[in-house]
């Protein structure tokens, strides 16, 4: 067991205009913690993971695992196991050989390898497939073999690079829960990369949000959702995304259509960016306190419906969560109210940073 610490770790791809794929990453993953790295494509999340694996150079800063500085160690000396997006199974080896490969390379006695592989296989429900080749397995089974290959090694850190993105939706949900449960049981420090924020929110003890190689925020899923540190995190976490509007401030309040919204924090003058989650807005009857929304699209998800529309008299688009049983119709004008001004997030429009009471 070990903690993983990035200290100012950077990966710079050389070239005429060099790219800082990961830029000065400072991040500490606690012993036994499940940390999710999330971000849009190109955010450097996979690169950051591969730096910990030793598959990508660390050009500045350092990385340590436990109390060892592993910055320049080859992957095999880092005591890590990795699960790849494509699973990267060895196609010419049976499931048993795939799982035994790393143990064989370590020179472990045959009988011990056998029992470890059996143990991992029964944990992952793979016992009956041990003598099959990967091509004779389904996607979900291959995924489990990839997991098995990682856990037989009993490494101090698991590194997982989008391990569920090749599975169909139903299997993904199932496997998501299985991986999370397995990690709790083994209590092995895990870094998990995903672009799927549902995975991020449901699996991680903490979630680190990356953008253009820079860490935006690292916090528990709840904290990320409730107090995003900047506009990017606010817009990235949550589905559908938070409504973000830049509006002029007048006497500590902004106007959403006809609705005057008193800002929960002192915001000076000029403009602010406010963020309102779709569930902080609700449809109300005509004449009640609120603003008018021209409905452009209704997404019905069963229990809920998401109403997309334009703020009357503005170009700003908004999404409102509504009851799934009585959604408004397209083209209709609806009245929208804000549940609680305390649920309004306020950001500086220049820096994008959250403005808090202080």
């Amino acid at each position: 067991m070990a903690q993983v610490a990035y200290a100012g770790a950077s990966r710079v791809y050389p070239g005429t205009n060099s790219v800082r794929a990961v830029d000065g990453l400072d991040l500490c993953v606690g012993d036994g913690e499940f940390l999710v790295l999330v971000g849009p494509s190109g955010s450097g999340k996979s690169t950051a993971l591969r730096m910990a694996a030793g598959l990508e150079d660390v050009d500045e800063g350092s990385i340590s695992i436990g109390d060892r500085d592993v910055t320049h160690l080859p992957p095999k000396d880092r005591d890590i196991a990795m699960v790849f997006q494509s699973y990267a199974l060895y196609p010419h080896m049976s499931v048993r050989e795939n799982m035994a490969f790393s143990l064989k390379l370590r020179g472990m006695p045959k009988s011990e390898i056998g029992s470890k592989v059996e143990e991992a296989a029964s944990l992952l429900d793979l016992t009956q497939y041990l003598d099959r080749k990967p091509k004779a397995l389904s996607g979900g089974q291959r995924q489990r073999v990839a997991m098995g290959r990682a856990i037989v090694r009993e490494p101090s850190v698991f590194l997982m690079d989008e391990p569920l993105s090749n599975l169909d939706a139903k299997l993904r949900v199932e496997t998501r829960a299985n991986i999370a449960a397995l990690q709790r049981r083994l209590a092995t420090t895990t870094i998990y990369v995903t672009h799927d924020q549902v995975e991020a929110m449901t699996m991680g003890d903490r979630v680190a949000v990356l953008r253009d190689g820079v860490l935006q925020q690292c916090a528990s899923p709840r904290e990320l959702y409730d107090t995003p540190r900047n506009v990017f995190v606010a817009g990235f976490i949550g589905s559908p995304a938070m409504n973000l509007l830049t509006l002029p401030v007048d006497g500590g309040a902004v106007k959403l259509g006809e609705l005057e919204v008193r800002l929960p924090v002192p915001a000076g003058s000029g403009e602010v960016t406010i963020g309102v989650r779709p569930e902080s807005l609700s449809l109300v009857g005509v004449g009640e306190d609120g603003f008018d929304l021209q409905v452009e699209l209704v997404e019905e998800l069963g229990a809920d419906a998401y109403v997309h529309g334009t703020l009357a008299g503005h170009d700003d688009k908004l999404v409102v969560r509504a009851d799934g049983r009585t959604p408004p119709r397209l083209g209709e004008a609806v009245r929208v109210a804000l549940r609680d001004t305390g649920e309004v997030h306020v950001f500086d429009p220049e820096s994008g940073l959250r403005i808090d009471e202080d």
Binding site: K76, I80, M82, S86, Y90, P91, S102, L105
Partner: protein, 274 residues
């Protein structure tokens, strides 16, 4: 309606395929048939189909010293192919999975060596061989055949190496494998069909090579194609004997090809079918 049209079209296509296939295979069949004829039956015009089969052509060929030529061919083919694989596999690995700045130039260089017609190089090659005392020597052919096949082999094998998923190699590294282990236990088993296909093509090219052999060898190091020309003489053609010799010359390649055909098909289609 469409199903019936399809079936009709399918049958027509089958018939056409058979006709084309027979057209192509007929000369080969004719060669086989002729090799069992007496020289008189072989020379008739129009050709005879009714004849008493005989093995006398084959014994005649063996009497004319076919076996040393066959041995030369086998020796040159096997060793030049091994040499190609020995040099070509690491080269293909380097040019595909461990590229450097000059990789594309190196690939261009390999290809450029195939641009000069062999005939343009034969006089310098002859003079060099003569000065080295390597005329009529199998080792000269081995080196030349390896040189001739190497560029093609490197290009071919490179395309197979490029198919190897990078993540699989990374997985092996994370699993604790060093480069030689990655190469021999993970990469080579995956590209084996491709290497087999490449080797087969090298074997065929070496076995059938005529131009170097006829110019650089004589009685000592002559290969099977050189032996075959011996039947084209000023006194006329010996059709039956030539056919028998040609049959014996092509048999080894056919056998090897037949054994390797599954590998070959899989190897050659590796890039196309995922």
């Amino acid at each position: 309606m469409t199903a019936r049209t399809n079936r009709l079209g399918g049958s027509a296509l089958t018939v056409l395929t058979w006709i084309v296939a027979l057209l192509f295979v007929f000369p080969v069949i004719w060669m086989v048939v002729t090799s069992f004829k007496h020289e008189v039956d072989a020379a008739t015009d129009p050709p005879t189909f009714a004849f008493t089969p005989t093995l006398e052509q084959f014994t005649a060929i063996l009497d004319r010293g076919f076996l040393p030529y066959l041995a030369n061919s086998a020796f040159v083919t096997v060793l030049s192919t091994l040499l190609v694989l020995l040099l070509g596999v690491p080269a293909a690995y380097a040019l595909s999975l461990a590229p450097v700045k000059q990789t594309s130039n190196a690939l261009g260089f390999f290809l450029s060596t195939k641009m000069l017609p062999i005939v343009a190089a034969i006089i310098p090659l002859y003079v060099i061989s003569q000065n080295l005392g390597m005329l009529d020597n199998v080792w000269a052919l081995i080196v030349l055949y390896a040189g001739m096949n190497l560029p093609l082999a490197v290009w071919m094998m490179r395309s197979f190496f490029l198919e190897v998923p990078t993540e699989m190699i990374e997985a092996a590294r994370v699993d604790g494998a060093k480069l030689p282990t990655v190469l021999y236990r993970v990469i080579l088993p995956v590209v084996a069909p491709g290497i087999a296909a490449t080797a087969l093509i090298c074997v065929i090219f070496s076995w059938t090579e005529f131009f170097y052999a006829v110019n650089l060898t004589a009685a000592q190091a002559g290969t099977v194609p050189v032996f075959l020309v011996g039947f084209i003489t000023s006194e006329g053609l010996f059709w039956a004997q030539l056919s028998a010799a040609a049959l014996l010359a092509s048999l080894p390649v056919m056998i090897v090809g037949w054994i390797a055909q599954n590998h070959l098909v899989r190897g050659l289609s590796m890039g196309a079918v995922k």
